[in-house]
């Protein structure tokens, strides 16, 4: 894989506190079926509404690893916006959670990201073990 492509995929905007402009946030609200976004402030109720609408409209999917000639996944904020909102796609956990974090931060929510390990129990294997994903 070329070094230039790898650099392009790496998330250069992780430290941005407002990855998306007001127009992008508005487009996202329309995409997931929420009423207009302007003037909204972070609150628990808004967080719940965003969560419900996101989960119903933006699928979990890994099709980029199958229906794709490159089979490469970008975590760049603008690439994620294009994929989710403009191309009406979803992503796997890193894509969807990175995207949602950018949306929340752009509205003013305080968000940090954490790393998870998945239980073998969630796949019916009750050995007390965990795996990366």
């Amino acid at each position: 894989m070329s070094i230039f492509l790898l650099q392009r995929l790496n998330s250069r905007f992780w430290t941005s506190m407002s990855a998306y402009c007001a127009e992008q946030v508005e487009n996202y609200f329309q995409h997931v079926g929420l009423t207009r976004s302007s003037g909204l402030k972070p609150s628990f109720d808004l967080l719940c509404a965003l969560l419900r609408h996101q989960l119903a409209r933006v699928p979990f999917e890994c099709l980029a690893l199958h229906y794709s000639t490159t089979r490469l996944i970008s975590l760049d904020a603008q690439d994620l916006f294009k994929k989710v909102v403009e191309q009406s796609r979803g992503g796997y956990c890193l894509e969807n959670n990175a995207f949602f974090k950018y949306i929340l931060q752009s509205i003013g929510f305080r968000v940090t990201s954490v790393v998870c390990r998945i239980s073998n129990a969630s796949r019916g294997i009750y050995d007390g073990g965990w795996r990366a994903m």
């Binding site: 995929l9 790496n10 998330s11 250069r12 992780w14 430290t15 079926g33 628990f44 967080l47 719940c48 969560l51 419900r52 609408h53 996101q54 989960l55 119903a56 409209r57 933006v58 699928p59 979990f60 999917e61 890994c62 099709l63 690893l65 199958h66 229906y67 794709s68 000639t69 490469l72 996944i73 975590l75 009406s88 796609r89 979803g90 992503g91 796997y92 956990c93 890193l94 894509e95 969807n96 959670n97 990175a98 974090k101 929340l104 929510f109 305080r110 968000v111 940090t112 990201s113 954490v114 790393v115 998870c116 390990r117 998945i118 129990a121 969630s122 007390g128 965990w130 990366a132 994903m133």
Partner: protein, 180 residues
């Protein structure tokens, strides 16, 4: 990866990337506090040491799910440490080359109750390889078993609003996951 959102000094697990057993409500980071998820489902976080921890002071947050009056199932745990972009770039690279997602076609979204004013989530639509399933509190049923790529492309459009262009559709040709 998951996110922790802080509102008025209260912290919540917020995860939109796990799939059908993921938390459909923000889950407070308060050990053993139970909150509602989907209908007939409850969720909780526990702050615990794992059996694998050699350090007696180590703790993680374990996310668990219970359906009806059944048993709690531990789904995943997370470390209460803020991670940065380069950390997830490493995981992303591993996912692209090694994970089960690279071997299996999986698509899932939650279903909202169109009649409820706040669009309460009531179940999931799941496409796993060649099977399309609907899961609600009452049942899990296979809606369709797909035999060809055309059928799967149509299902992606109809049930998930995913439209793949011709180049994307052709890209799976010859691979193990192709339906033929």
């Amino acid at each position: 990866m998951a996110n922790v959102v802080t509102i008025d000094d209260h912290r919540y697990l917020v995860d939109v990337g796990y799939g059908a057993d993921g938390p459909t409500s923000p889950v407070p980071l308060e050990s053993n506090l139970v909150v509602d998820g989907l209908p007939n489902q409850t969720l909780k976080l526990e702050h615990k040491r794992l059996s694998q921890h050699k350090d007696a002071d180590s703790r993680v947050w374990i996310y668990s799910v219970k359906r009806d009056s059944g048993e709690w199932t531990e789904i995943y745990h997370f470390l209460d440490v803020e991670m940065f972009g380069p950390d997830f770039d490493v995981l992303n690279h591993w996912n692209m080359v090694r994970s089960s997602f690279a071997q299996t076609v999986v698509v899932q979204r939650f279903i909202a109750d169109e009649n409820s004013p706040d669009r309460k989530l009531i179940g999931s639509m799941l496409l796993l390889r060649e099977q399309l399933k609907l899961r609600t509190k009452e049942k899990e049923e296979v809606i369709q078993t797909l035999k060809t790529e055309s059928e799967r492309i149509a299902v992606l459009h109809k049930h998930f609003d995913i439209v793949l262009d011709q180049e994307q559709q052709n890209a799976i040709a010859g691979r193990d996951n192709e339906l033929r």
